[in-house]
Each structure stands twice: as C-alpha cells, then as structure tokens.
Symmetry: C2
Subunit: 447 residues, 2 copies
C-alpha cells in the first residue's frame, strides 16, 4: 500500500503529458467525460458508486520524491515533465452524478474540465474506482430488490482483492445492503459489521455442543449458531438444547436452501423456538435470493456473487475527451470515429425526466456551456443529475467520507423509487430508460 | 488506504476469538489449510499467485491504537480480546506452494500452523489475496500460452479496483506477461511498464498528423502510434508520412482484428515500413489471442479480460481447519461433513509426480507430521511443492518483494514446462492432473 495515489496510473498518460508539454498543447482546456456505452450484463439500470472514494484519492494524487524518483529512474518521462509533476495539483472542475444515482448508457457519470495535462492523468484512477464500485453496486441493487424487506449482509471479502473488498462493502451498503463482514469497511466508512462463527469454531471443539455453549457464553443467547458442520437436524436440536428457545438465530451455509430452510423452520417451531431466525449464506446471488422469497428465511448473506459483480465484474465505463479549446479560444466538440466505439462529442448535462413521479427517460443535453441548462429542467418535469464535486481544484468534502456514504445510501433509495416497475425485474433486457440526446442552443438554453 | 492490514478481516474471526479466549480453546494448536475444491472455470490447471503480497501484509498485521479503538467503540470484541490483540503477532509456521506454482483441486496451497487464536484471524486476508491474485494468474497463463513467443502486455488497471490493479499486474507478470501499463506495479514490484498514447492525444490536436508529429518529437521514431481514431487506412498513411518507414509500431484498438491486422500489415509493407510492428489491444482474451495466431500481429495488450479472471474473477479457494490438538496433546484430523462442501482432514504434504520429466499427478500425502514425508519423494519421481514461508513467526523474506516476483516468474515457467501437452489446450476440461491422496504412516514415512 502506498500513500500517494499518483502512480495508480497508466504509463501512457504520462507519456502523452511529456509530448503535450513539448508541443504546447498541455495547457489547452479540455472536457473529459466518464460514461458507459452500455450497461453491464444486460441489466435494466446501473448504479454509480465510488465517487466519494475517488475524491479522497484525488486529495492524495501528488507526485512526491518517491514517485518522481521512480519516474526518473525508470525513464518514464523527461525532466520538464518531472518538474510539472512535482507541482501537480488538480485545479479544474469536476461535476458528476451523485453516488447512489442510477445511470444508463451515455449518462455523463463524471465530467472533468481542466487543462489537458491536469485532466488526462486522472483517467486510470477515475476509471478503476468507478468501474469497480459501480459494477458491485449494480449487482447489489438487484439483490436488494430480490431480498425485499429481509436484511441483506455482504460477506464476500475473501473472494476479491483485499482493498477491493472494502470498496465492495461500501458499494453494497450504498445500494441497500444492511451490513458487511468487513471490519475495515466498518472503520473507514461507518458501515455496520456482522458475523459470529465459522465451521472452524465447531471443529475446534470435541463436540458441537461445546462450541455452541462457548459461543452463547461469550456472545449471548441472541447470537446466531452455525448448524451445518455435521448434520443439520442434529445441529438444530443441539443448538436449542444448549441455547434454549430464545436462541437468536441459526445459519445455514450449505444444501438445497428452500428445502433445508423449510425443514429447519419446522424443526425450530416444533422445538418451541418460533422466534429463532434463519440466516442463509450459501452461494447466493439475486436469482437464488428471489427463489427463496416464499421460504421461511429471515436474512441473507451474500459473498462471491456480489463482490464480483454477479457475472459483470467491471462496469465498462470509459474516459473520453469530448471537447477542447481551439487555438482561437473557442470550444470544439471532439469525438472518436472508430466503428462500435464512437463517442458523442460535446459537454453534456443530464436530467431524468418524469411523469407522475415515475422516471421516463435519461435526457442528455449537449451544450458547450454548463450554465445554459438551467432552463431545460423547467421545460421538462426533470431532475438534474449532476452535482459539483470539485470547483477550481477544491474538493466538496460533503461528497466524501462517512457521512457521504450514508447520504448516498439515502439518495439511491429515492432514485430507485422513481423507477418504473418494469425496471425491477431481474431478467436480461434493454435499459429501463431510453437515453435521449438534445442539442441546446448555447445562448437561449432551448432546443 | 490504511497502514495496518489487521482489519481486512471478517468480524466473525474476532468474535470466535472472543469466545475461544473465554472457553480456553484459543491456545489449542491447529492446522489450517488454504485450498481450492475445484479449478475456476473448468480450467486445466490453476496458478498460485499472491503469496509474496500476503507475507508483506502479514508484517503489517498489527492491532495498533486506531484498530483497537474501532473494535472497542463498535463493540466488536470484549476487553480481554482487545488485550490479546494489542500484543498480537503471528508466531506460528506457514508452508505453502511457491508463487507461480501450478495447483489442482485439493492442492494444499497454504498450510498455517499455530494456536487457534493466531491462525484463525488470518483467514480473510489470506483468502482475499490468494483468491484474487490466483484467479488473475490462472487466466493470464492461458493468454500467455495462446500468445506463444509474441510479447504480451497487461493494461487492465482501469477495469478493476485501483489496488487490485497493481496486484493483477504482478500476477500477470509472474505468469508470463512481459509488461504492464500500471506505474505503481512498476514501482512496487519492478515490473516493466509500457504505453504511449490514447485517442485523447489525437483528439487534442487539430489534425491527426499534428498529434503523430508531436509524439515522434517527444518519444522518438521508435514509438507506437495509435492509428484508429478516425480512419485506419488514413491513419496508417499519416503515420508513415510523419514518422517515415522506421516507425516503431502502430496500435489497433478496434475493429475485426484478423481482418484489420492483415490490411494494416499489407499497407505498411506497401509503404516500405516492413519493420514497423503491429500491436493489437481491442477486447482480447485467450480465445481472441489464439484466433490471431496466424495474423501478422507482433504483440498483444490485454485489459478487462485478464484482470477480471476471464470469466472467473475469484479462484474459489477456502481456508479450513484440518487438524487440532486434542485435550491430551495428540493431533486430531478434523473435517466438515456437509454435503458438497466436505473437506479432507489432516495435515498434507504435496508432490508432483513425474515420468520422463512430464508431470503425472498431484500426490497429496496425509500425515500428522511434515517431516515424515521426505521419504515419499524418494519413493516416487516427485517434486516437493511446498516451501517454508514463515517459521515461528519469522517471515522468509526471499519470498516477498521485488526479487521474489522475478523468482516466481522463473518458477512458473519451469513448472509449466513440466505439464503434459494436453494441459495447454484452452477448452473446458477436467484438471490436467489427477489429485491422488495417500496416507503415510507417521513413523515410517511409507504408505
């Protein structure tokens, strides 16, 4: 682990910088846009996550002695570039979707405005954070929908990189999960943590009953006992023998869950433990959770599937230059032309149009200026989707840190509440909302 | 980012510790094993990666004031447990497969011996690192096989978490990739870095020729020009116009690659640039690389696919207690019984048997002692697969750091050279080697 985030960067950004400092284009003002051409895994909507983490990493994006020494020794850049980097500080503007917001193909999730030099070198870091966290959040939202009112815990740390695990816990919490197993996520982001015991705890003891008794002694009768180390029916009986009928819960981590959950519920009830809850944690994804909707399950723990994006481990967002200052000072929209990877040039402002409080489209207005768009939201029943995250290099701290995570969680809930019902289905589909582009007149703010 | 790795841990490990300190089982000696029940994605072999990173994280696994304050404030553990954690230091032994080694179902990739207390709390960290890095390495090995002698670069940082990106670059390099785009991987692990320019570089300029000229001026004629921003045929012509026929290379990042590569090669040759190389970088995976084997491509850059494990983003390794000390001081093999997740109890020593230098099986000897197994390797033509990574808490530093990465890369090459040819095919299959368990007599070291 390093304290500067500046080298979490692809080399080509610094070689471009070298060339740009040499030919004088380094200081041209540019607009870069971070967006997805399509949604991961034919989902109906995506969820933006990672913005707050990115802002914190941007604070640490400094080229100190260690970073400069490496770049010099490895001959990555020349001396003028090292000099530029030594003083580097992002002084531009970033606007973007709020964390927890939904996104659709083409949504301008992040817009970075600054000189070419200062903006281009943020590409990899911005994409790493947003692509990872948004992929997890997008998967998590579907599981949260499938779980309905039943509590949902994220416990997949062991299935992903150790730092990605912390970010995944954060993305899940924003998207409606209630807790995580990951302690660092608890410390860093204030997310509730959960967990009681693994199979190793039972196997450490001569008898399952010894393990259960010791756990109850240490953690209280309200704890959750893992009852499938040997035989589930015997495990349930032993659990109630030891804990009594006030046992908080039992956890099932194997087997055919709808069948086993029903059997365990019946057994608990027959033993008089009708208030003892059942948690299931075996290889769950959104489809398995949905299949358990009618089963007597009280809460879910999800691991592998959510932290790896349920089949779509990356959100596929890209970072593209969309406008630049011309030699005469005017703004020019620019766009790549190559087949299948074409981009839409120009700076964009995004709105979610609504009818009777239900979202109807992702309206993207293309304009060379941001401030010309205020009028657009009065033309439509539309909610503006972008907020100012960084102004002239100043990071708006309300969008990072522990409180921002809680805010993003609330924002996600309200954004999801606007969706049409069809958006909540789990099957593969086109996006639930169509992305509509409009071109606004620069001076009048109208189409 | 945090400097202590101690909270990269699932809460249940610390609640088990609390209960174990209370009932006296905390100080029982145990053996935990990290292994995979099956290979990710029906691959023919797996590749172990992450071991060196884990050793470095183990050095930082300390509960300092910040960590203890969080655990106290969040009421994760009680006061006796906080006291234990304040003095925590792993004092046990770890043996494991060398980094870069191949693994098969059941291979004891890591074996941790210590008290229950000191070993159980390493579960999540060990799994996070090994599951992530081995998933990437296993995917990378297949790409390396498909690429043959053509250079292969990893450039997927933007598609995975920012710290996982560094680990992924490391895993790819160990497994035969030649370079990475990730600068932090260059600094931290000594991996060669590469990269020249993105589409933004061309779009920053009025004309493609201006961009090419500036890049040549800054980086020399030997650089690689990205020629598909507008029209590939025009791009190639402009590139040679500007750079001359000694241009180092062109990069193609879009289109139907076999077709486009052939056209570009023909055009370059017709322009006299027969030594100009072609790099392709568009959505490559092992199958796309294999499909380009007959195309005039000189090198490959792989992004999304390799850093997300080419469809298997986690290796599915688990961490299980396999033996513990009994109350009378003897060792008892222990194992979970639940269907489909059963484990094999007992401490294991692993060998790769060979005939005429070709690997024939993964031989796993079950024994309550490690040192009884020396004889086994003389009984068979077999290579011992485990090395001592930590002895009585002392980390063997030759397995971490920059040199260990280079060593692991060499070791991987030699381990892969032992495989039967059938193991190198890309199609789904059973593992290339069968895992054979033998039970050795404790005192004689024979079956």
């Amino acid at each position: 682990m390093t304290r500067s985030s500046a080298l979490l960067t692809d080399r080509y950004e610094l070689t471009m910088l070298t060339a740009a400092l040499r030919d004088g284009t380094a200081h041209r003002r540019c607009v870069f846009e971070l967006f997805a051409r399509r949604l991961p895994g034919a989902r109906r909507f995506g969820v933006v996550a990672g913005t707050g983490r990115l802002l914190s990493l941007l604070r640490e994006f400094r080229f100190g002695d260690d970073e400069l020494r490496f770049l010099r020794d490895a001959r990555v850049v020349d001396e003028p570039t090292l000099k530029y980097l030594a003083d580097y500080r992002f002084t531009g503007n970033i606007v973007g979707y709020r964390e927890g917001e939904l996104y659709f193909p083409g949504s301008p999730v992040l817009t970075i405005e600054g000189t070419f030099a200062e903006a281009v070198i943020l590409e990899t870091l911005a994409l790493s954070v947003l692509n990872h966290d948004s992929a997890v959040a997008t998967a998590a939202a579907r599981m949260s929908i499938a779980a309905g009112d039943r509590p949902l815990a994220e416990m997949g740390s062991r299935r992903t990189g150790e730092e990605s695990a912390v970010a995944a816990a954060r993305a899940c919490y924003i998207t409606g999960f209630d807790a995580t197993s990951n302690l660092e996520a608890g410390r860093r982001f204030g997310i509730p943590t959960m967990g009681t015991a693994a199979h190793a705890w039972t196997l450490l003891h001569e008898h399952e009953s010894d393990a259960f008794r010791a756990q109850i002694d240490a953690l209280g009768t309200d704890t959750t006992l893992l009852i499938d180390t040997y035989d589930i029916t015997r495990g349930v009986r032993t659990a109630i023998d030891v804990a009594g009928t006030e046992l908080g819960g039992v956890r099932i981590d194997s087997g055919d869950l709808p069948l086993v959950a029903a059997q365990v519920r019946a057994q608990l009830d027959s033993l008089g433990a009708s208030r003892t809850k059942i948690t299931v944690t075996s290889d769950l994804d959104e489809h398995a959770i949905a299949a358990l909707a009618a089963s007597p399950v009280d809460s879910y723990g999800v691991g592998t599937s959510v932290v790896t994006g349920a089949g779509s481990p990356t959100a596929g967002m890209v970072f593209k230059i969309v406008a630049r200052e011309s030699t005469d000072g005017s703004w020019v929209p620019v766009a790549k032309k190559s087949a299948a990877k074409a981009t839409t040039g120009g700076r964009k402002t995004a709105f979610r149009t609504r009818t009777d409080s239900i979202a109807t489209s992702e309206l993207i207005a293309i304009s060379p200026r941001f401030d010309s768009l205020t009028d657009a939201s009065s033309t439509y029943d539309a909610r503006a989707l972008q907020v100012s995250l960084v102004s002239a290099g100043e990071i708006h701290s309300e969008y990072e840190g522990i409180e921002a995570v809680a805010d993003a969680r609330m924002h996600h809930k309200s954004a999801r509440a606007e969706l049409p019902v069809s958006a909540l289905a789990l099957s593969r589909s086109d996006p639930a909302l169509e992305t509509v582009y409009v071109t606004l007149d620069e001076t009048l703010g109208h189409e």
